[in-house]
Subunit: 228 residues, 2 copies
């Protein structure tokens, strides 16, 4: 892979979307797809798709489009999902358990290989979702990261503990961190971080709904006024 110059983050995010759509098409026995068709399905412009792909190489054929199998392979390689990643999970609470049961991870080459918690009541118990996995005490973290070559971690501990656990994960050698706690992690720049804050998402919804509402209201009064 070429550790290329400056690739916009939004382009990388969309790569995942393209992959999804390609898999759908593939399941439908399709062979070729154009940027226009892909764009229509994902509600993006065709030129955006072409530009995004062009950051990484030339995958299409003029007049024909993209070969679905080939493009799929290429995007997988770009995203680094053409191999299996070992993933660990810290926090076997509600959220953690749900995540450990999520099928979508395995389907995409992410294999959950270890689960940790600090609560002694949970340690030693197998996961309901996957009885082969037994919750380990958090003190085993460092050893397991090394032993099983784990590069990605899902951090599903409460907000208070998140920063400390993050620090520990990084020190243990984890290179990417998926964080669910509503905190801004302070982390070395060479460690990748993805964050999902569920409450923030709901706030965005609440904002949009409020705003749509007041637009609709304004519209209504405008119309009323016109009637006069």
């Amino acid at each position: 892979m070429k550790p290329d110059g400056n690739i916009p983050a939004p382009a990388v995010r969309r790569l995942s979307l393209y992959l999804r759509q390609l898999e759908l098409l593939w399941a439908d026995d399709r062979q070729k797809v154009s940027s226009k068709e892909l764009g229509a399905a994902l509600r993006l412009t065709d030129s955006q798709i072409r530009k995004d792909l062009a950051y990484f190489g030339q995958f299409g054929q003029a007049g024909v489009g993209y070969d679905i199998t080939e493009l799929t392979t290429n995007i997988r390689r770009i995203l680094g999902t053409d191999r299996t990643w070992n993933v660990l999970l810290v926090g076997a609470g509600n959220l953690g358990s749900a995540l450990s049961a999520y099928r979508g991870f395995a389907k995409r080459g992410f294999r959950l290989v270890a689960v940790f918690d600090s609560d002694k009541k949970k340690v030693g118990k197998p996961l309901l979702s996957n009885p082969e996995l037994v919750v380990q005490h958090i003190d085993m973290l460092e050893d397991e990261v090394k032993r099983r070559e784990i590069h990605l971690a899902i951090n599903a501990v409460p907000a208070e503990a998140a920063q400390q656990i993050a620090h520990r994960l990084v020190k243990a050698g984890v290179k990417g961190l998926f964080n669910f706690a509503p905190v801004n992690l302070d982390i070395d720049a060479d460690v990748a971080v993805a964050s999902v804050d569920l409450a923030v998402q709901l706030e965005q919804l609440s904002f949009q709904v409020s705003m749509n509402q007041s637009i609709a209201d304004a519209e209504k009064t405008r119309k009323k006024r016109r009637k006069k």
Copy 2:
């Protein structure tokens, strides 16, 4: 509220972050904060924070900064979280159950008032996390939305069902949709949608980690070559 002109979506997203930080400061008994201090804590520039806030009004005092309580109130009003939102959940599987147990929602004024599933084995059972909530059959959806004035919905059903449920939710009158399925929902423009695709997030991590790795490798060979 003023249904103002063009507010950048990223600015609205950051509003949530400001709110979180303000709450932290407030818990620390602080009275005032400057854009510079806020920026340092959140790793943003001070001017960005001032600009973001300026989209919505004038909240600061030159030479002093922002009053924490006052700014908190204002941001809540802007985001529409100065009131309680009734929220429903569709899908009482693993993810759904975890979400229903998540405390962060209630803390921010989002009240889960109904849970639906199509699986008859689940219907009628109370939620472990909140025994007052009993899983209802999906056919009750429309009635409940009206009866309890529910405007927001969390869609935690499998990908195959997501589009159909989304459609039904919108028809029932829901104005905002929090989607966890890895699909692009086709929805009226006047309905707000927030999406979290867990696998996409992991793919972003995998990309970044791979890229960091190859940068590090390149760095290494560069150094080696120099040594000669």
